[in-house]
């Protein structure tokens, strides 16, 4: 671009509309935070709906909740927290001026942990739900043992699939971002002066983690699990 030529002295990654790297980094970081606020409101709208329907149909939501596999939920929580840690370490590696191989390693680890999460989610949990006829719209079967709560259990599963699905979609978008970052890190683009893309993507990845931190108790835990015969 012609306008880039005006500031030939600036480091790579610098965009012409800014005065200096610091202003650019500040703007990138603030931009991501503002975006995360919109994400809070986006997921928040869904959470608000969930809260209201849970209050309306408590027995159905508790029944549904107890049908989820808490082991997968807990393991996945740990996996996702682990991926947050590796993400933070990847940024740290760039900040502290470590070798690019270390940055790449942590980024790849982050992606692997994210993949484990999605693998457990899709290949085990969702498939089991499908086999047990718990996916609304796909031969959902209301079981007699749910009794009174039965008719509204599908609504719980609607929320379950929306919320975890939307979360998974965010993770998949995260993969796209992480792969780009890995390539950039491999090319040695990041150093202790310039690591804003890493930092900003890290914020996003941690946010996705936080969403799960709330989804886990809301969906898996607060359904009166203690009252279940034959605990998982």
């Amino acid at each position: 671009m012609a306008d880039m030529a005006v500031h030939p002295a600036h480091p790579p990654g610098f965009k012409h509309q800014f005065e200096d790297m610091e202003q650019q980094r500040d703007a990138d970081s603030l931009g991501m935070w503002v975006f995360l606020v919109t994400e809070v409101m986006f997921f928040g709208g869904l959470f608000a709906t969930y809260i209201i329907y849970r209050a309306l149909y408590l027995p159905a939501f508790e029944t549904g909740s107890r049908l989820l596999n808490v082991k997968f939920g807990a393991v996945n929580t740990a996996v996702l927290i682990g991926s947050s840690l590796t993400m933070a370490l990847a940024i740290h590696a760039a900040q502290a001026g470590k070798k690019k191989s270390e940055q790449v390693m942590y980024l790849v680890l982050t992606m692997i942990l994210g993949a484990v999460f999605l693998f457990l989610k899709f290949a085990f949990e969702w498939r089991a739900d499908y086999n047990e006829h718990l996916v609304p719209g796909f031969h959902f079967i209301i079981r007699p043992e749910w009794g009174a709560a039965g008719p509204h259990v599908p609504m719980f599963f609607c929320f379950y699939f929306f919320m975890t699905g939307l979360h998974a979609l965010h993770m998949i978008i995260g993969f796209g971002i992480l792969s780009t970052l890995t390539v950039m890190a491999h090319r040695g683009r990041f150093n202790s002066e310039y690591y804003a893309p890493l930092e900003v993507s890290g914020l996003y990845w941690h946010f996705v983690d936080i969403v799960w931190i709330f989804l886990f108790p809301l969906l898996y835990l607060i359904g009166g699990r203690f009252a279940m015969p034959g605990v998982h």
């Binding site: 610091e22 500040d26 935070w33 808490v70 947050s84 840690l85 370490l89 740290h92 983690d209």
Partner: protein, 127 residues
């Protein structure tokens, strides 16, 4: 503004704390804490299991936000932006609930039946 570099030790500490909290919250789900009975309308029965689970989730969130996301070391502006998000979410949820949960309450029957008639005549007295 040169960004604050958090020590790897801190990251590892937070990670372990988060894992412990995950274990705690999972375990707590299998213990019956019972209900808290309050006399307050709208909040007559508070299931303590829900309170515990959400409280732990909030602590975990704070750890992630403050340390992994560096908000502890960030500018006031970032802190305000983060808080604004949660404040407006709280407005959405609380005002919606304020209507949804009081819908059945008519002026001649309802939990606030005793409180409001004492307030309104006072206001009315202004005229």
């Amino acid at each position: 503004m040169s960004a604050h570099v958090v020590a790897v030790k801190t990251y590892l500490g937070i990670f372990i704390a988060l894992l412990v909290l995950t274990g705690l919250t999972t375990g707590a789900a299998f213990i019956d804490f019972g209900d808290l009975h309050t006399g307050i309308p709208l909040l007559r029965v508070i299931p303590l299991n829900t309170v515990v689970a959400l409280a732990i989730a909030v602590v975990k969130m704070l750890l992630v936000i403050l340390f992994f996301m560096h908000v502890k070391y960030s500018s006031g502006l970032t802190k305000i932006v983060v808080m604004a998000g949660f404040l407006f979410l709280a407005i959405l949820v609380s005002f919606t609930l304020a209507d949804e949960l009081t819908r059945g309450w008519s002026p001649e029957a309802g939990a606030w039946n005793t409180a409001l008639p004492t307030i309104l005549p006072l206001l009315h007295g202004l005229f």
